[in-house]
C-alpha cells in the first residue's frame, strides 16, 4: 500500500488537467503574442483560465497576473510594491513564520535600505491583530501575512488583520501568501481587504511552474521581470499557455463540491490527529484540529529524528515531509519551528502529514498502523 501524505509539498495533477496541458502543448501550441490564428487559439486558453480564476476570487480579470510560481509571486508582491512606493514610505511588515519566498525578499529589501518589522507569532502560530496594528506606521508600504502556514497549518483571520492594517494606515497594502490556502478556503480579496495575493498551481493538482499574483487595481506596483510587455507590461515573458490553462482548470475542479470536500478533509484530519494522540508521547503543533487548515497535521515524535522517521515511513510506502520540503538541505530548525519557539527535541522530531482531496480513509489508517509499528523500534536506537 502507498499513502502519499506530502500534498503540501506538491500534488498529483488531476487527469483532466494533464490532458488539457498536453493539448495546449501538442495541438494548440501557438504563442498568444502571435498575430495569426495559432496565436488567437492559444490566447483562448489563457482567457478562459483567467475568467474562471477571476470568478472564483470575485475579482476583475485584469487584476490577475501569472508568474512562474508562488516564489515569484511573493517576490514580486514585496519588491514590486516597495520599489513603486519608495517615495511615500520605506517600511515593510512580515511575520516571523513566513515562507522563505516572503522572508528572503524582505531581507533583500532591508539590505536595499528599507526597514523591516518581523512580527512574532504565538505558540499556535497566530498573529495578534493588535501587535500588527501597532507595527503599522505612516511610512509602512506593505504588510504581508501568510494565510495558512505551510508547516503547521495555522490559519490567520485575514480579514481582521487586513482591517487592522487599513484602519491604521489606509495607504498600506496588505499582501497574503495564500499558497497553502487557495483551494482550501473560499477567498474573496475584495471582501477581506486583501490588496495582493499569491497562489500556486501545483499545490492544487495543477502543473508546476505557474503561479498567480492578484493585484488590486488600486495598487501601485512596478514589474520585476521586464521584457516583451506581455500581461499589460507587468510581467513579461511568453505566456505559459499550458501552465495557465492547467492552473485554471485545477482551480475550478478544486472548488467543485467544496463543502463535501471540506468535510472529507476534516474527517481525515480528525482521524489522523486522534490516532496520533493515542500513541505514546506525540505532540501536535499548531491550532486545535478544527481551527487549523483542513489538510495539514504537524506532529513531533520525541526521541525519533524526523529524517529517520521519514525514511522508515518511506520504506513502507508512506510519504511525509520533515519540516518544509523546500528546506531539506538546511539542517537548522525551520523558520516556523523557530517562530513558535518549539524546543529542539520537538523541532528535530517533527513530521508533517498533508492531505489532498484524493486522500482516502484507508491511507490514513495505513499511515497510523505503520507509525504504530515503527515508533517502538525507532525510539530504542538513538545517539
Amino acid at each position: 500500500m502507498e499513502a502519499y501524505l506530502d500534498n503540501s509539498a506538491t500534488t498529483r495533477v488531476f487527469p483532466e488537467v494533464g490532458e488539457l496541458v498536453m493539448r495546449a502543448m501538442a495541438e494548440d501550441y501557438g504563442n498568444p503574442s502571435s498575430m495569426h490564428r495559432k496565436g488567437v487559439e492559444a490566447e483562448k486558453y489563457i482567457k478562459e483560465a483567467t475568467a474562471g480564476l477571476a470568478k472564483l476570487l470575485k475579482v476583475q480579470d485584469k487584476e490577475l497576473f501569472y508568474t512562474s510560481g508562488g516564489t515569484e509571486s511573493d517576490n514580486w508582491a514585496l519588491i514590486g510594491t516597495a520599489m513603486a512606493n519608495r517615495r511615500e514610505g520605506d517600511h515593510i511588515i512580515v511575520t516571523d513564520m513566513e515562507h522563505p519566498a516572503v522572508s528572503a525578499p524582505a531581507d533583500y529589501l532591508e539590505k536595499q535600505g528599507f526597514s523591516v518589522t518581523r512580527l512574532p507569532v504565538d505558540r499556535q502560530g497566530r498573529v495578534d491583530p493588535g501587535t500588527l496594528a501597532e507595527a503599522v506606521t505612516d511610512r509602512t508600504i506593505l504588510a504581508s501575512v501568510m494565510y495558512v502556514n505551510n508547516e503547521i497549518g495555522s490559519v490567520q483571520d485575514i480579514a481582521a488583520l487586513a482591517e487592522c492594517v487599513h484602519r491604521k494606515n489606509p495607504r498600506t497594502y496588505f499582501h497574503t501568501d495564500a499558497i497553502q490556502a487557495f483551494g482550501k478556503y473560499r477567498i474573496y480579496p475584495k471582501r477581506q481587504g486583501i490588496d495582493l495575493l499569491s497562489a500556486s498551481s501545483h499545490k492544487i493538482h495543477g502543473p508546476k511552474g505557474v503561479g498567480l499574483l492578484y493585484v488590486d487595481s488600486r495598487v501601485k506596483i512596478v514589474p520585476v521581470i521586464h521584457g516583451g510587455g506581455q500581461q499589460q507590461g507587468m510581467r513579461s515573458g511568453t505566456d505559459n499557455v499550458p501552465g495557465v490553462a492547467g492552473f485554471g482548470l485545477a482551480a475550478r475542479l478544486s472548488y467543485e463540491e467544496f463543502e463535501a470536500k471540506r468535510e472529507h478533509f476534516y474527517k481525515l484530519k480528525k482521524r489522523l490527529t486522534e490516532g496520533l494522540l493515542a500513541m505514546e508521547n506525540v505532540v501536535i503543533h499548531g491550532m486545535a484540529p478544527e481551527e487549523g487548515a483542513p489538510h495539514i497535521v504537524s506532529a513531533a515524535f520525541p526521541g525519533v529524528r524526523s529524517e529517520v522517521l521519514l525514511h522508515s515511513l518511506e520504506d513502507r510506502g508512506v510519504y511525509v515531509s520533515a519540516g518544509s520540503a523546500c528546506s531539506t538541505h538546511k539542517r537548522n530548525a525551520s523558520p516556523t519551528m523557530r517562530a513558535i519557539h518549539a524546543p529542539r527535541e520537538l523541532s528535530e522530531a517533527t513530521v508533517r502529514f498533508s492531505m489532498a482531496e484524493t486522500t482516502t480513509q484507508e491511507e490514513i489508517e495505513y499511515c497510523l498502523e505503520t507509525l504504530g509499528k515503527l515508533l517502538g523500534t525507532l525510539r530504542r536506537y538513538k545517539r
Binding site: H311, D315, Y381, R383
Partner: protein
C-alpha cells in the same frame, strides 16, 4: 591553430623492457578519456613519443581538461603543425606563433631544433640560429638566453614541422591498469574520494564499497556517494561501486556492545565486509581515507585495532595529511563541493558522545563475543545482498 598535442611522460620512460606495456596502457587510457570529449582524435606512439591529433573540429579546452585527468601524463604540449614549404614560410609561421603566444615580448628565449628527417637541407644548429635571428629581428624586445631561457621554442622537423613551446602540466603518476586493482571504502566525506584518487594515480584500478544504513541514511546520501564515485572515476576509469546495507549489523552492535565501542567495532566489520567483496572481485588491497588522529576512530590505537581484522594490505594514502592538505586535493579533483553536501553518513548516526580513543584489542574482542550468535550470518547476507552500481565518469 593547434591540432595536435605532444604528450610528455616521465616515470614510465624508465621501466626497462616493460616500457612498451606502460606506453600502450597510456595510449589506451588517453583514447578512453578522449571519448568523452567533443571531436575525433588519433592517438599514436611514434619514436618514444605519444601524439594526440584532432581529426576535424574539436574543443581545445575540453581536450586539455580531459588529458589532465590521464594518469601518466606529465605534460601536454599544444603543437602547431606546419607543412614544409621552405625556410621563408617556416620563419614567417614561427614569428607569427611567437607573436600570438607571447603578447608580452620582454622575455628570453631559445630555439631548439630537432631534425628527425635528416634530408632537411639545413642542420639543427644552423636552423636554430636562423630562426632565432629572425624572431629577434621581428621583435627586438625578446632576448636570447641559451642557458636559462624563459621560453624554450621547439621546432621538430619530421614529415611535417612541429612547433611548440608551452607545457601544460598533467596529473603525473602511472597509467591506469599497470598496477592491479584495489577496493576503496568510500563514504560521503571529503577524505575517501581523495584517497581513491591518490591510489589510482599510481596506476591502480579502483572499485569501491559504500555502507548504506536506511532509514538512518537517505537515498540522497547514497546518490551523493554515486556522484563522488563518478567524479573519482573521471580519473580512475570505470568503477564498480558496491552498496552494502549495513543497518541490521549496526543495530545489532548497538544492542549487544558497549556504546562507546560502537564506532570501532562497526569499522572492524566494515573492513571485513570490504575485504570479502574485494577478494571476490579480484582486488588485492583496501584503500581508506584515514589520517592519523583526525577522529576518534583514527588514532594510532584505533587504526591498529581496525587493521587487525584484515589480511589484505590496507592503503591509507592520506595517513600523514592535514585536513587542509586533503581539502586542497579534493578541490583540485573537484570532489569537495559534493563532499560537503550535508547528508548523514552511517558513521555519524550512532556516534557516542565520548567514543573510545584508545581501544584495547582484547577488550574489543571480548565485546565482539556478544555478537557471536548472529554476526557471521549477517556479514554473509550483507555481502550477498550488496547492490552493484557500475560507474564510468
Amino acid at each position: 591553430m593547434y591540432r595536435m598535442f605532444l604528450i610528455k611522460y616521465a616515470e614510465i620512460g624508465v621501466k626497462g623492457k616493460n616500457r612498451y606495456l606502460f606506453e600502450d596502457a597510456l595510449v589506451s587510457q588517453i583514447k578512453r578519456t578522449l571519448k568523452r570529449v567533443e571531436g575525433r582524435f588519433s592517438v599514436t606512439k611514434e619514436s618514444g613519443r605519444i601524439y594526440v591529433q584532432a581529426v576535424g573540429e574539436f574543443d581545445y579546452e575540453e581536450t586539455v581538461e580531459a588529458l589532465q585527468t590521464v594518469f601518466g601524463v606529465v605534460g601536454i604540449c599544444p603543437v602547431v603543425l606546419l607543412a614544409d614549404e621552405g625556410y621563408d614560410r617556416l620563419s614567417e609561421d614561427v614569428i607569427a606563433y611567437m607573436d600570438r603566444t607571447y603578447p608580452d615580448k620582454h622575455r628570453s628565449f631559445k630555439v631548439q631544433v630537432r631534425r628527425a628527417r635528416k634530408t632537411y637541407p639545413l642542420d639543427s644548429m644552423e636552423l636554430g640560429r636562423m630562426l632565432g635571428g629572425d624572431i629577434l629581428h621581428a621583435f627586438p624586445d625578446f632576448s636570447v638566453d641559451v642557458h636559462h631561457p624563459q621560453i624554450l621554442l621547439r621546432v621538430e622537423i619530421r614529415e611535417h614541422i612541429y612547433v611548440y613551446s608551452e607545457i601544460i602540466p598533467g596529473p603525473g603518476g602511472m597509467p591506469l591498469g599497470t598496477n592491479g586493482k584495489a577496493m576503496l571504502l568510500l563514504s560521503g566525506g571529503i577524505d575517501s574520494p581523495v584517497a581513491g584518487y591518490m591510489i589510482a594515480k599510481r596506476g591502480v584500478m579502483v572499485d569501491a564499497v559504500y555502507f548504506h544504513a536506511p532509514p538512518y541514511t537517505s537515498d540522497r546520501a547514497k546518490n551523493k556517494v554515486v556522484d563522488l564515485a563518478r567524479l573519482v572515476s573521471r580519473y580512475s576509469g570505470p568503477m564498480r561501486l558496491h552498496v552494502v546495507n549495513f543497518t541490521d549489523i549496526q543495530l545489532y552492535i548497538y544492542d549487544q556492545c558497549p556504546h562507546d565501542e560502537l564506532t570501532i567495532i562497526m569499522r572492524r566489520y566494515m573492513m571485513k565486509i570490504a575485504e570479502e567483496i574485494a577478494g571476490k572481485e579480484g582486488s588485492m588491497a583496501l584503500i581508506t581515507g584515514e589520517s592519523i588522529g583526525q577522529v576518534a576512530s583514527q588514532t594510532v590505537q584505533s587504526l591498529a585495532v581496525t587493521n587487525e581484522v584484515c589480511t589484505m594490505p590496507v592503503f591509507r594514502p592520506l595517513i600523514g595529511f592535514d585536513k587542509q592538505e586533503i581539502v586542497d586535493v579534493s578541490l583540485k579533483i573537484n570532489t569537495y563541493e559534493t563532499s560537503i553536501q550535508p547528508f548523514e553518513d552511517c558513521c555519524t548516526i550512532f556516534v557516542a558522545r565520548h567514543p573510545v580513543t584508545k581501544p584495547n584489542l582484547n577488550v574489543i574482542r571480548r565485546s565482539e563475543e556478544n555478537l557471536a550468535e548472529k554476526i557471521d550470518g549477517m556479514l554473509k547476507e550483507a555481502v550477498d545482498t550488496a547492490e552493484l552500481i557500475e560507474i564510468d565518469g
